[in-house]
């Protein structure tokens, strides 16, 4: 048998957590350093996947499949495609940065914090690696618990409220998904006579229309909450504002992707007909989210809340691209998942750095910081521009592919979504200007120190990725394209349900004469 890459990568953090558990809680610095070492080593172990994964190879690679609960047909079944391998690698890259980013911020219960971070890592990777619905669900819930504690223990003043809201929201979503999984599971037994929770088996099922609709709705709701899609997003600003910097970073950079990834991996391929039936609803909600998130972001007085609402807007783009069902748009969505992780992750790190200096997120309390923190100003500017989608940086790659890929099918939706590009510049530059430009009109802003070496180490890898993906995105796009094409085939190959048929006609017409159809 080949080397079990995924299992190694998956459980390495737990091993690390066990190690950290052995260090006395009073030795904070030792705990931080050990966790950093564990996460860096973890990244080193995972990195070979970047080269070992063959873009043109099998659908799923590094597959491990061993029976787990035989009687129920549950298997320990892991594997990655181009999309999940990138998301997993990005997650693993992010963890050392998150540890570095909370070096000063987290000073209570340091040991517990770092153990939870490592458990969380395993939870997140499990979701990306799972090819069995039961395994998926286990890791999905596993990931929820550490995050709940991270917000609830190390959060801001209203952390309990935020944590409970976060938990209830995602938990309700999770339950719906569980019901869906069980229903599918029994339906599979009913049709084939055998129990299975393997993703491939369940995708092969031809679920009848009504059932498919209900199941899709269950899964879709679970994932839409996680994304979060308008109007299920209100847990996000609370969670972000209250979470510690590292919590916000992971929440934005990885946990939100669980929602879009869930659509990509489960909800859409499992229920292709229903996906197409609800496509117009979701696409419209996505576009509303783009504009609405941007507008609400515009008027936020709190930096973190602004970035949180900007996530609603950005993930609207990702959802729109996914449901446009063209390879171009979905390629854009996939790369945009990474991009949003990079730029929003970096933005939350930046918020955290400002908080460590000034103990506030209120935009009004800053001003003129470019003069006192020039290096910080430069990196903050680059991250801001990445978030705005400036061509040459990473954000543009995703947004453009999404919009150009959607435009061929839904010119009006894509056109309206493009307004989000204007608004992004508006709210981001407004924030940047108020925080960084103008006179230093508050005494306490006069002496803030510029970036420390540790902070450089946090931001530089992300800035490097911003340029890499912006200037030369091919290595990323190449790895995901075959997987995305396969995804489109699954969805396009599905027999067209009655409701979608009328839609289909529009789609065909749109292909020929996009403008005419749009008008």
């Amino acid at each position: 048998m080949d080397f079990p890459w995924l299992t190694t990568i998956l459980f390495f953090p737990l091993l690390g957590a066990a190690l950290i558990a052995g260090i006395p809680g009073s030795r904070k610095e030792a705990i931080r350093q050990s966790t950093l070492a564990v996460t860096v080593l973890h990244f080193a172990i995972a990195l070979p996947l970047w080269w070992l994964y063959e873009p043109g190879g099998a659908d799923f690679q590094f597959v491990e499949r061993v029976p787990w609960v035989d009687t129920f047909g549950i298997e320990y079944h892991l594997g990655v495609d181009g999309v999940s391998v990138l998301l997993a690698l990005f997650t693993v890259l992010l963890m050392p940065l998150a540890v570095l980013g909370s070096w000063r911020y987290v000073d209570r219960h340091v040991k517990e914090f770092h153990i939870l971070m490592l458990v969380l890592t395993t939870g997140m990777l499990g979701v990306f690696f799972a090819l069995d619905l039961f395994v998926f669900y286990v890791f999905w819930e596993l990931m929820l618990v550490p995050m709940y504690f991270i917000i609830g223990i190390w959060g801001g003043e209203r952390r309990i409220h935020a944590a409970v809201k976060f938990f209830l929201y995602t938990f309700v979503g999770g339950l719906l998904m569980l019901v869906g999984i069980l229903a599918l599971y029994f339906y599979h037994e009913q049709v084939t006579g055998t129990f299975s929770t393997a993703l491939a088996d369940l995708i092969a099922l031809d679920v009848p229309g009504d059932l498919q609709t209900w199941l899709f709705l269950g899964f879709a709701l679970a994932f839409a909450i996680k994304v979060p899609m308008f109007p299920f997003h209100t847990w996000l600003p609370d969670a972000h504002v209250q979470a510690p910097a590292a919590g916000s970073v992971i929440l934005a950079a990885v946990l939100l992707k669980m929602g879009t990834y869930g659509f990509y991996r489960l909800a859409m391929p499992l229920f292709p007909e229903a996906s197409r039936t609800f496509l117009p609803v979701i696409a419209v909600l996505a576009v509303i989210g783009i504009l609405y998130g941007a507008m609400v972001a515009l008027v936020q007085p709190n930096m973190k809340k602004l970035v949180a609402y900007s996530s609603v807007s950005h993930l609207g783009f990702v959802m729109l691209g996914l449901f446009a069902l063209t390879t171009t748009a979905i390629q854009g969505s996939v790369i945009q998942m990474i991009n949003h992780g990079i730029s929003t992750g970096a933005l939350f790190f930046i918020c955290g750095m400002l908080y460590e200096r000034r103990h506030t997120y209120e935009i009004e309390r800053f001003g003129g910081l470019s003069a006192t923190m020039p290096a910080f100003a430069t990196l903050f500017m680059i991250v801001t521009l990445s978030s705005i989608g400036l061509p040459g940086l990473n954000g543009f790659i995703g947004e453009f592919l999404i919009l150009v890929g959607t435009f061929g099918r839904y010119p009006w939706l894509a056109g309206i979504a493009t307004i989000g590009v204007i608004l992004a510049a508006y709210y981001m530059l407004r924030m940047f200007g108020r925080v960084m430009f103008g006179p230093v009109d508050r005494e306490e802003n006069r002496e803030v120190p510029d970036l420390s070496v540790r902070e450089w180490a946090v931001l530089l890898p992300l800035v490097a990725l911003i340029f890499w993906i912006g200037v030369y995105p091919r290595p990323f796009l190449e790895r995901t394209e075959p997987s995305v094409e396969r995804f489109v085939e699954i969805l396009e190959g599905a027999p067209t349900p009655a409701v979608a048929e009328a839609d289909g006609a529009v789609i065909v017409a749109a292909d020929d004469e996009p403008v005419e159809a749009g008008r």
Partner: protein
């Protein structure tokens, strides 16, 4: 040569890397060398390319280089690839040539900055040059868009260069956001192009425009119009011009390079570059011409009454860009580009001259406190005179030839009304430009005594670029002398038209095909010289001869004066009708929809409902055992009854 195209944009990029990463430590001396040096080197390579291009037969003057595949996803693909033909060659020469002069000038102008500021300035300026070169050398829509937004970014950064002043930062932000509105149009245009042609490469799209689009068809119209929205933003035309006057907050060399000579002309270049598409959309072209003419006149009227020397030049730039759009809008693409080139010379010079004056007066920009600077600043004075004559259209200065070309072609294409607007604007241009000139250099000095003592000519790094541009303002137009004036230079003819002919040959209006020069062309030419001279004399009469008169006039025509002084209240109107309502709507979305309805009513309401429900349910849990027994029996009876009766 073809494989060397990438060198041109790469050179300024080297400057960006050096000045950005090492500039502060290397010191001002090194930055002052590297910053202009890389642009000068790019200019040298551009000259070599030009010589190479001229050596080729006219029909083969087109160089391509694909550097790498950049953005590929699904069926979409766009490489980083360059195209140099006579059109982009012209732009490259202007960008690197004028750009180089302004870089050199900046060394003197920005001398008071500290190491960090100096390095930052040249980093931005080099980055701008790089982005601008991408814009004009791109061989596809998407790379052009990269340059397009890149120059916008540099504009933002440089307008707000002195960011400690809140107003500068706000002006930069305004420029970026207004430009983004235009870029929205550009993007939609690209989407439409891709869904129509299946490619975004100029080489695929432009030759196919005739076949894929129908003349006057809606698709052609919308593609052209959306792309033009991008041009309207970048080139500061009605209704998106409002950012350019505010952009004067940046250092003056920046105004010269970005907000006069190069970036703002990108829209004109875009329309010219995409002329095969525009030709399929006559009504879109009519809109281009109409907006151009309207902007030309509108901005000129505002320019008449501004007191800030840079604001006059800003409105003048908007007005002159209007001329260029009028030119390309009547399908006189060569004329539009010709004016772009001469304007780059004289308007860059005007800004640099103004900068020289501001420099001498330690930051004074209000012309009411200038005057009589002629004697103290001879080089600035004489070069400014050349530029002022050029922009006013007095022969044989550069502006005369290009402006007259546009006016004549407008008339010739059958648009007497547009011609009349351009004609009146020409008169106004002479008035406001000589108003500026006389107020600044003639009469008595109206500033403080201290300033008067310190008035000095600028250092050589500033004076030499002024002199070079002064010469170009004089002779720059001689490359495009119309056939009507014969061939005074012996063999040069209308070299510019011949040079661009391969690019526009299929598109040009029939102007140059007229075998004989119609007498009316001489008439119109004489008329425009006359009105320019009249404007000059009027300015002299008002601002030299009868210096009280302007004030009397402003009192006499108070209403008109107030309207112009307040720039038609356009900024205020935008604030009132666009910005504030949008912000209010956003606040409503947050407070009412998000906090109130979604979170308050729906989410927390559900929570409360659950709590209420569980409260009701918990009442059943009384702990009173006989009660449970009773319920149990009741239930059992009910089930029994169900089976027995059912």
């Amino acid at each position: 040569m073809e494989n060397l195209l990438w060198v041109v944009p790469a050179l300024p990029l080297v400057g960006v890397a050096f000045n950005g990463l090492l500039g502060r430590r290397a010191g001002k001396g090194v930055v002052a060398f590297v910053g202009p040096g890389v642009v000068g080197a790019a200019f040298a390579v551009a000259i070599a390319l030009f010589v190479h291009l001229v050596g080729l037969p006219a029909g083969e003057r087109e160089l391509h280089q694909t550097v790498y595949e950049w953005l590929v996803g699904g069926g979409f693909g766009a490489p980083v690839a360059f195209l140099v033909d006579p059109l982009s060659m012209t732009m490259v020469l202007v960008v690197t040539g004028v750009g180089f002069l302004i870089h050199v000038y900046s060394v003197g102008y920005m001398h008071d900055e500290d190491e960090r500021g100096f390095a930052r300035y040249f980093t931005y300026l080099n980055l701008f040059t790089f982005a601008m070169l991408l814009l004009v050398m791109a061989d596809n829509f998407l790379l052009m868009f990269v340059g397009w937004e890149g120059v916008g970014l540099c504009s933002y950064l440089l307008i707000g260069f002195w960011f400690a002043d809140r107003d500068n930062a706000e002006a930069g932000k305004k420029a970026f956001i207004v430009n983004r509105i235009g870029d929205f149009g550009f993007l939609i245009g690209i989407f439409l192009v891709f869904s129509t042609f299946g490619s975004v490469a100029f080489a695929d799209v432009l030759p196919a425009a005739g076949a894929a689009l129908t003349v006057g068809g809606t698709l052609a119209f919308w593609i052209a119009l959306f792309l033009f929205l991008g041009a309207v933003g970048k080139s500061a035309q009605i209704p998106l011009y409002v950012w350019l006057p505010d952009a004067m907050a940046g250092p003056t060399p920046v105004s010269a390079l970005i907000h006069a000579a190069t970036m703002v002309t990108a829209g004109v270049y875009m329309v010219a570059r995409l002329h095969p598409i525009y030709q399929m959309a006559p009504s879109a072209l009519a809109i281009v011409a109409g907006i151009g003419a309207a902007t030309a006149l509108f901005a000129a009227t505002i320019g008449l009454v501004q007191n800030d020397i840079k604001k006059v030049l800003a409105y003048s730039t908007i007005s002159q860009l209007g001329y260029m759009f009028l030119g390309v809008g009547v399908a006189a693409f060569t004329a539009g580009i010709f004016h772009l080139v001469t304007h780059a010379f004289f308007k860059a010079l005007l800004f640099l001259g103004a900068g020289s004056v501001i420099h001498a007066l330690h930051g004074q920009q209000d012309m009411r406190y200038m005057g009589g600077l002629k004697s103290g600043m001879p080089i600035t004075y004489w070069t400014m005179l050349a530029a002022t004559l050029a922009i006013s259209g007095i022969p044989p200065f550069a502006g005369f030839f290009s402006k007259d070309d546009i006016l004549w072609r407008t008339w010739d294409a059958g648009h007497p009304l547009l011609w009349a607007i351009g004609f009146v604007t020409a008169g106004l241009t002479a008035v406001y430009m000589f108003r500026l000139f006389f107020l600044t250099f003639h009469g008595k000095f109206r500033g403080t005594d201290e300033q008067a003592e310190h008035v000095h000519e600028s250092p050589p790094s500033m004076a030499v670029p002024l002199a070079v541009l002064g010469v170009l303002s004089l002779i720059g137009g001689w490359i495009g002398i119309p056939a009507a004036l014969g061939d005074p230079l012996g063999g040069l003819g209308n070299a510019f038209e011949g040079w661009l002919a391969p690019v526009f040959e299929r598109g040009e209006v029939a102007g140059e095909l007229h075998p004989a020069v119609p007498p009316i062309e001489y008439g119109l030419m004489a008329a425009s010289v006359a009105i320019a001279t009249l404007g000059l004399l009027a300015a002299w009469w008002l601002y030299v001869r009868n210096q009280r008169l302007p004030e009397e006039l402003s009192l006499r025509f108070r209403a008109a004066y107030t309207v112009l002084r307040n720039k038609y209240w356009i900024d205020e109107a935008y604030t009132l009708f666009v910005v504030r309502p949008f912000n209010a709507l956003s606040a409503f979305a947050w407070r009412v929809v998000d906090d109130g309805l979604i979170d308050g009513l729906a989410v927390m309401g559900t929570g409360r409902l659950v709590r209420f429900g569980s409260g009701v349910a918990s009442r059943w849990e009384t702990g009173y055992v006989p009660g449970y027994v009773l319920v149990f029996f009741g239930g059992a009876l009910a089930i029994l009854a169900y089976y027995l009766l059912g």
